[in-house]
Amino acid sequence: MSTMTPQKTTAPATRVRGGSRLGDRVLKVYVWLILAWLFLPIAVMIVFGFNDTRSKSNVTWQGFTFKWWGRLGDYPELTLAVQNSLQIAVLSTVITTVLGTLMGLALGRYRFRGQGATNLVMFAAIASPELVMGASLLSLFISGGVQTGFVTVVVAHVLFSLSFVAITVRARVIGLDPSIEEAARDLGASTWVTFWRVTFPMILPGVVAGALLAFALSIDDFVITQFTSGALQTFPLWIWGATRIGVPPQVNIIGTLIFAIGVAIAVFNTVISRRRT
């Protein structure tokens, strides 16, 4: 550890020798330009929720108004689509979190035959393009005579988020100190009690992170949902359908609300984890 101390003193020297402060400054400007580019369409989305547009298309700025916020429910099909999105996200998140946590525990805790195969399938689930996943699922449902709709969408959403949750939980399980569980058992706790009172609280941050990820993946998904939804509409599907006839300002407002909630959760999460370390 004594090597850590001199490192601090050499750092400024390196910077002088490198002598490329201008380069760093240029890079910093570059980073902010890319960030601005990433946020540009989002800014447009937020701003155009306040656009006093007269037609159904919402492309040119015609003045500021709050009126669309009061008329969020003007399109009953849009409202229904948002409700569907939320219900699908909640249900698939619950299923994914339970199954993914179990998988994460097994993968992080045990060495077992078939572990390599499990990793391979999880890898395939993450790496295969959504289009192929959606197309193959639809092939299965067509061949099996299964009516596509709410249930098939939930099945698909669990499929594509399961591996992410399992990996998130696994990382947490691997980081656990086994001696804490041993101590619980030495003090007479049963396997069940040890799990719920000791192990689970310790892996909970991983489980919550996985659940949030699953929820975000579900509510945003378009491609697999389009293939497995049949006549059912979700929020992204409704927008896709509306691009041809014009996207009303209500879509911008709902997008803004989802964005605001997401940002709030992310910021909260960052603050919490920073306080912990």
Binding site: I34, F39, L99, V121, A127, S128, I167, T243
Partner: protein, 283 residues
């Protein structure tokens, strides 16, 4: 019981993956060799000629998708690397804030973000409108429905998937290794090309995998930002499945796409190790 524990834990999720990931591929293969239509139903005839016909008919779209995917991936590496580099080495205490900013756009549905680009780039939109009004840009100039718009949209939507794995790889580079190189009289550029760059290559590989595959299979960007000249193979598959109900052709095209990609993905993963790519993907 102890021996069985991992299997009991893995079983529900493992079955879900097996049933809904592996089995559907078999059914897709089966559908691709059927004949028939929506009215009279589809019958299994093991007619493999659909593959040859579909490939002959849509080879342009296949090649275009691969080309768009390659160009968009290359542009993404070029844009992402300097950004990941700066955040990893100069981000200081704000590193996590910058990463959060990179990820925040994901809280807006990517369909909605792509639609926003359509508004921004429209012929009389916020960018081209003023430029045309002041005469800086000729009146017949347009961006929408061009190759540039589609590739730009692809880069826009998938750039964070390139930034993150490169960042993770750069973050793992010990600054003391760089200092050691400089102590041994490596110039700044040499320290970068001989030390930092090779150490960050796994991140670049992971980023390429994370972006090239979904970009090539994407149909949302070409659908919203492109025109008939920019149709990608994903648009064909989507239309055949969901609009024309031409399931055999659609399944044959998807199967070909998947086979090409799986061969690539697994060759890639073999070289790099599945665990590494998985870790990079999950960050």
């Amino acid at each position: 019981m102890k021996r069985l524990a991992p299997y009991l834990l893995i079983l529900p999720g493992g079955l879900w993956l097996a049933i809904f990931l592996v089995v559907p591929m078999v059914f897709m293969a089966s559908v691709s060799t059927q004949e028939g239509d929506m009215v009279n139903g589809f019958v299994q005839t093991f007619n493999f000629s659909v593959y040859g016909d579909a490939l002959a008919l849509y080879q342009t779209q296949f090649l275009r998708s691969a080309g768009y995917g390659l160009v968009a991936t290359a542009v993404s590496v070029a844009l992402a690397y300097p950004m990941a580099y700066w955040i990893a080495f100069k981000g200081g205490a704000r590193k996590s804030t910058y990463l959060l900013l990179v990820l925040l756009p994901f809280f807006v549905s990517f369909v909605l973000r792509t639609v926003s680009w359509k508004f921004l780039l429209a012929d009389d939109g916020m960018i081209l409108g003023p430029l045309k009004a002041t005469g800086l840009v000729p009146d017949d100039f347009h961006v929408l429905q061009t190759t540039v718009a589609v590739i730009g949209g692809l880069v826009y939507n998938y750039l964070p998937f390139m930034i993150l794995p490169i960042y993770v790889a750069l973050e793992r580079v010990d600054p003391r290794v760089v200092e050691a190189a400089q102590d041994l009289y490596a110039a700044r550029r040499q320290a970068f090309t001989k030390v930092v760059l090779p150490l960050s290559l796994p991140g670049v590989f992971a980023g390429v995998l994370m972006t090239f595959v979904p970009m090539t299979a994407d149909y949302v960007n070409a659908g919203i930002l492109g025109g008939p000249e920019n149709t990608m193979i994903g648009n064909i598959i989507q239309t055949k499945y969901l609009v024309n109900n031409d399931y055999p052709t659609a399944a044959a095209l998807s199967f070909t796409l998947m086979a090409a990609m799986l061969v690539g993905i697994f060759a890639y993963a073999k070289v790099l190790g599945t665990e590494n790519v998985l870790e990079a993907a999950a960050r």
